[in-house]
């Protein structure tokens, strides 16, 4: 059985974001990058299935981006993926979800993958499109936002998270793609021996030009902070003084303290 997990590297979301020179995405200077959080759950689920199925199953991790994404790929390898594909692209942020999906689909086409895992969305772009679009382009069965996963004999049983804490239970026949929600499992921390072992695993590098055939369907024309709504007070300074100010506000504005 052949498994694929698609991951993205994103900046630490605690960072301060400044527009790049073109004003259409963030400036990468001073940003620390890590694996997209949703993708950590996708990798963990894929690795768990790989371990359950044992010999004869191969798990590949794929990422698109500049050389910095190799760091996220190495983490996935250390978590338990067998090998990796790095689709090298220094202009990945200028591509829309349709192009990203097409690049992945073109790579997957004809390679006999049975099951693909992705995060349900990225933390930076957040379009929640790439996974589903890849499935559509490949004609794979697909379900999204899963918080429960099981696989047996060519059938995936997944639990989808719906609004209000309700879940929907779905069965899909492979070939299939699932997009993973936070809380699906507990992503492991790579151990030191596994980090060492991962250094010997193969990373195939493919220039994006070899896989990109789709045209852009949407363009980003601006990247900016939200308009400040105003009204809110921002308090900064010494903790003792902050406490006094908040106590005064609670007494003044709410009926909580008298």
């Amino acid at each position: 059985m052949k498994l694929l997990v698609c991951i993205k590297q994103v900046p630490d979301l605690e960072s301060r974001f400044k527009p790049d020179a073109a004003g259409v995405w963030y400036n990468e200077t001073d940003l620390a990058f890590r694996m997209n959080e949703y993708d950590e759950y996708a990798v963990e689920q894929a690795v768990q299935l790989r371990e359950k199925l044992g010999e004869g199953t191969e798990l590949t991790v794929l990422s698109i981006g500049p050389d910095r994404v190799v760091e996220a790929i190495k983490k996935a390898l250390a978590m338990g993926c067998d090998n990796a594909v790095h689709i090298q692209d220094t202009a990945v942020s200028a591509k829309d979800p349709w192009q990203i999906s097409s690049i992945i689909s073109t790579y997957v086409q004809g390679k006999g993958f049975d099951l693909i895992f992705t995060g349900m969305q990225s933390q930076d772009r957040g379009s929640a499109q790439v996974g589903v679009t890849v499935a559509e382009q490949l004609g794979f069965a697909c379900t999204t936002t899963i918080v429960g996963f099981d696989y047996a004999d060519g059938t995936v049983t997944a639990k989808r998270e719906l609004e209000g804490g309700i879940k929907g239970v779905v069965k899909l026949k492979t070939p299939a793609l699932v997009t993973c929600q936070l809380g699906l499992n507990v992503p492991r921390y790579p151990t030191l021996p596994n980090i060492m072992k991962a250094k010997r695993k193969e990373i195939t590098v493919i220039p994006v030009a070899d896989l990109l055939t789709a045209d852009l369907l949407a363009t980003t024309t601006s990247f900016h902070p939200p308009a400040k709504k105003g009204g809110g007070i921002v308090l900064e300074g010494d903790v003792g003084e902050l406490v006094d100010k908040v106590i005064a506000i609670l007494k003044d504005k709410t009926a909580v303290l008298r």
Partner: protein, 303 residues
């Protein structure tokens, strides 16, 4: 301009979020038609054209059939935009429709600007303006971002149907976990977010909740990590609350959390990140280390 709005129906009921689609279409100044896989016993209060498929035949979650139905209505209506709510139904179905039509999808729209759409990014800290290259596309609107608008009237129903197995089988719904705490009735809620650092710090937040005479709430990451039980989760997939006072401790303010608590009367947020999106809706943002500030506040409150 013309829009085809895709209504939502679950467990035998038309969902209220369907009316947010009309709120969006009104701001866009667009003509509307609606498609709903639902039931003629639950028609939206809307006087326009309604393409109605029977959910007992076409399923409530059957993406292949629903896509087929939407493509059929698109053929008849030729809309500029097909609009979904960005929900578990919308974000699942929208990309399938966009891929079939080979048009752009713009996800989780919060505003309109100069021929483009404003969407959140970087965990809602920033915004992007996105323009579909062809001027046509599939759109999803952020849940709660647009006003509920009931156009009124009775729809001109055009019945449609689809057949075929589809690539997946919907087994059924699983009810939400039983709530041992009804946060919906709480007047004061003090919630813990990832910013509290570790499970051992939960009692510090609980102590403030107790000192204020309130309940403990939590954000999703804290629940996922197992620090606090799911019954305390505030947000889209937890409980929706509107207390007199909401204190958000170390919660950055993901959209899913904000949707569950933004109707609170008074919101105090404690966060070390001055730019955290929670600041957008908080009445007071205290820029401080949660684990330093909260115990100090509790001590003063308890006195």
């Amino acid at each position: 301009m013309k829009t085809l709005l895709i209504g939502e129906y679950r467990e035998g009921k038309l969902l209220d979020s369907t009316y947010e689609l009309f709120g969006f279409a009104a701001q866009l100044g667009a003509d509307t038609a609606m498609l709903l896989v639902g039931s003629d016993a639950q028609l939206p209060a809307y006087g326009g054209t309604l393409y109605l498929a029977d959910a007992s035949v076409c399923g409530e979650y059957s993406p292949d059939l629903h896509k087929q139905l939407i493509l059929e209505a698109v053929q008849k209506e030729n809309p500029d935009y097909i609009v979904f709510v960005h929900s578990s139904y919308g974000w699942d179905l929208a990309p399938r429709v966009a891929a079939s039509l080979k048009v752009a999808q713009v996800s989780e729209i919060v505003g309109l600007v100069d021929g483009g759409f404003e969407v959140g990014c970087c965990n809602a800290k920033m915004r992007r303006t996105v323009k579909p290259a062809s001027g046509r596309g599939v759109l999803t609107i952020q849940a709660g971002a647009y006003p509920v608008l009931q156009p009124g009237g009775s729809p001109a129903v055009q019945k449609i149907t689809a057949a075929g197995g589809g690539s997946l089988e919907f087994v059924g719904y699983e009810a939400a976990e039983k709530k041992d705490v009804d946060l919906g009735k709480a007047e004061i809620i003090v919630s813990a977010g990832r910013g509290i650092g570790k499970k051992d710090n939960v009692p510090v937040i609980l102590a403030l909740a107790k000192a204020l005479g309130g309940e403990l709430g939590a954000s999703r990451p804290v629940v996922d990590a197992g620090w606090v039980e799911h019954s305390h989760q505030v947000g889209t997939t937890g409980q929706t609350v509107s207390p007199k006072l909401y204190v958000a401790c170390g919660i950055s303010g993901a959209i899913q959390h904000l949707a569950g608590m933004k109707k609170s009367d008074f919101i105090i947020a404690i966060n070390k990140d001055k730019d955290a999106p929670i600041g957008e809706i908080a009445d007071v943002l205290v820029v401080a280390d949660v684990m330093q500030f909260v115990p100090a506040l509790t001590a003063k409150v308890a006195r």
